[in-house]
């Protein structure tokens, strides 16, 4: 069994290694996307344009042998553009309605610039995420398994956008931040992508069935009561700290924190969770679940700064 966990760790190393051939740098982004998949949860991806957000998701879907689709958020995007709609089809001289599946019928859905879509469309997507099914008319269609939504948003150009309400952003397990690459990484990016584009020949490392098994294993990872208390304390602190935080995280954050810590432990080839797992996962789990107050904004504190303060 010990070998199984070591083998699992080796599999993740292989995935990261293969992904690194295509995505240079952004190791933490790739890791957090895999962790979100392991938790069978969805993630928000925030970063400036051109930071390989789409490429990262596409690469992961290839390595995990998952069906990938991409939706571009625009103000005129309708819910039926995502879920699909009935189209009139003529067969043997007879006209009948046939359901035409939308891009949501996929394993990995990348929703680019979710904050540009209208609240109505956002709600349709979030409902699908929650229920894992789509209802059109009077018929319900179950979504494929595994189902993973990765919604991106741009921190700049906020004009004409519809920021996600807190109740909806709470449904995403992670908010993954993409940072600019280092000078060395950017040099490699330029070298790799300014020359003749080559096919990296990515081969699937994990199958859908293996991923499902992995998701099952994550929930089975045992957690010590002290670790659970530690995670709950962090979330409670976010609610009690009125100096910097206006609204703290919900109990869903506590669940998410423990689940993410379990996935992180498994990712590192361990069958138990440590406080380091919780601390590491506190940033992506909490940063979209806390709302800073005026005092924090006046001092130019980011959500991550406040989380660091909570972890002290």
């Amino acid at each position: 069994m010990e070998k199984t966990f070591q083998g699992m760790s080796k599999t993740f190393e292989d995935i990261m290694g293969e992904a690194s051939k295509v995505v240079i740098g952004q190791q933490s982004v790739l890791k957090q996307i895999i962790l979100a998949l392991m938790c069978d949860a969805n993630a928000l991806l925030e970063g400036y344009p051109g930071l390989a957000k789409t490429l990262s998701v596409k690469t992961i879907s290839q390595l995990l042998d998952l069906k990938f689709s991409r939706i571009q958020g625009t103000p005129d995007l309708m819910p039926s553009d995502i879920t699909g709609t009935y189209v009139l089809e003529e067969r043997n001289g007879k006209r009948e309605f046939k359901f035409q599946q939308g891009p949501i019928f996929s394993n990995i859905v990348l929703f680019d610039e979710i904050n540009r879509a209208t609240p109505k469309t956002q709600s349709a997507l979030l409902e699908s995420m929650q229920e894992r099914q789509v209802t059109v008319g009077n018929k319900t269609f179950p979504l494929d398994k595994p189902f993973f939504v990765l919604a991106t948003s741009n921190p700049i150009e906020q004009e004409g956008t519809y920021p996600l309400p807190e109740a909806q952003s709470d449904r995403f397990l992670f908010k993954i931040k993409t940072d600019y690459p280092t000078a060395q990484e950017e040099f490699l990016i330029v070298t790799q992508y300014s020359d003749i584009l080559k096919d990296h020949g990515l081969k699937p490392i994990l199958s859908k069935e293996q991923l499902a098994k992995l998701q099952d294993l994550v929930r089975k990872v045992p957690v010590a009561n002290d670790i659970k208390k530690f995670a709950v304390d962090i979330v409670l602190k976010s609610r009690k700290n009125k100096e910097l935080i206006e609204y703290g995280a919900s109990p869903r954050a506590s669940i998410g924190l423990i689940l993410a810590a379990k996935a992180n432990a498994l990712f590192n080839g361990r069958n138990y969770v440590t406080t380091e797992d919780v601390t590491e996962m506190a940033f992506p789990v909490l940063r979209h679940r806390i709302i800073l107050n005026f005092e924090a904004e006046r001092n130019n504190f980011s959500e991550d700064d406040v989380i660091k303060y909570l972890l002290k």
Binding site: E2, K220, P222, N225, Y272, T274, T275
Partner: protein, 270 residues
């Protein structure tokens, strides 16, 4: 009982024993240090038993009530978070928990008593006990008297401790056990009186007067003296000394025949 529960029980027992051992050793250090201090301030040395017992009670409470698996993990870093996780999830049965149990049980096989006893600290503590004991013996043998402590002790701590000791001996009445405290009452101040090598034998016999305190009645027809005091109330006491010295037979004979001889002499004269 499963092997996991047995292993957890055994390791906790080892931790408790090690904590009791450490508590006793620490208590001993506390005792000799306090005893040395009390001897220096010229008060009852056995007052050092109070901090010793307080420390031991705390140590025993700590050992039995506050022994956590996290303490074992601190001593065996290889088990960090694993032991606690296994203990909290011992009732679960799935492949991940099973693998954790297997790993922890394997690691526990390599955990010995040596993980719980810090030899370096033990040597230091025994060294401290030895040094303090040496000073106590030295002070006792050489009858060393330090600077008059009453001049330097703040708030008359020496006197307060002595009073505390007096009250304890008075209450518990440890006759013979804590003789040192009563010496001053019996012999007086050493600077005033000196007994030398002579032995003094004192025997105090029981008072022969008896008072029945249960037999209490009101005074019937009280009589008053000129000063207006009740005449019937008074007190009388007496001491009887038992003379164990036996009379010589000649003297006893003389006393016995004394009145007979006098009577005969009178009759003869008549």
């Amino acid at each position: 009982m499963s092997s996991v529960h047995k292993a957890l029980k055994d390791i906790r027992k080892t931790l408790i024993l090690s904590k009791l051992y450490n508590s006793f050793l620490n208590g001993l250090v506390v005792f000799v240090i306090f005893a040395l201090f009390f001897i220096i301030v010229r008060t009852y040395w056995w007052l050092a038993l109070i901090p010793f017992f307080i420390y031991m009670v705390y140590g025993i409470y700590n050992a039995f009530m506050k022994s956590r698996y996290s303490e074992i993990e601190e001593k065996v870093p290889d088990l960090k978070w694993q032991l606690r996780t296994m203990a909290d999830n011992a009732h679960q049965d799935n492949e991940v928990v099973q693998s954790l149990k297997h790993n922890v049980l394997q690691k526990l096989q390599h955990v010995g008593s040596s993980h719980f006893y810090d030899n370096k600290k033990t040597v230091y503590k025994i060294g401290a006990v030895f040094c303090a004991s040496f000073f106590i013996i030295l002070i006792g043998i050489l009858n060393v008297e330090f600077v008059e402590f009453t001049h330097v002790n703040p708030g008359g701590i020496s006197e307060k401790l002595t009073q505390l000791g007096d009250s304890i001996t008075g209450k518990i009445a440890f006759e013979g056990l804590f003789d040192g405290g009563n010496e001053r009452d019996i012999y007086g101040a050493e600077s005033v009186a000196e007994l030398g090598n002579e032995e003094l034998e004192l025997k105090i016999t029981q008072d022969n007067s008896k008072i029945d305190i249960s037999d209490i009645n009101d005074i019937q027809n009280p009589r008053f003296n000129k000063q207006g005091q009740i005449q019937d109330i008074g007190a009388a006491g007496g001491l009887a000394y038992e003379n164990e010295k036996k009379l010589d037979s000649d003297e006893a004979e003389l006393i016995k025949d004394y009145f007979g001889v006098i009577t005969n002499t009178i009759n003869t004269e008549e």
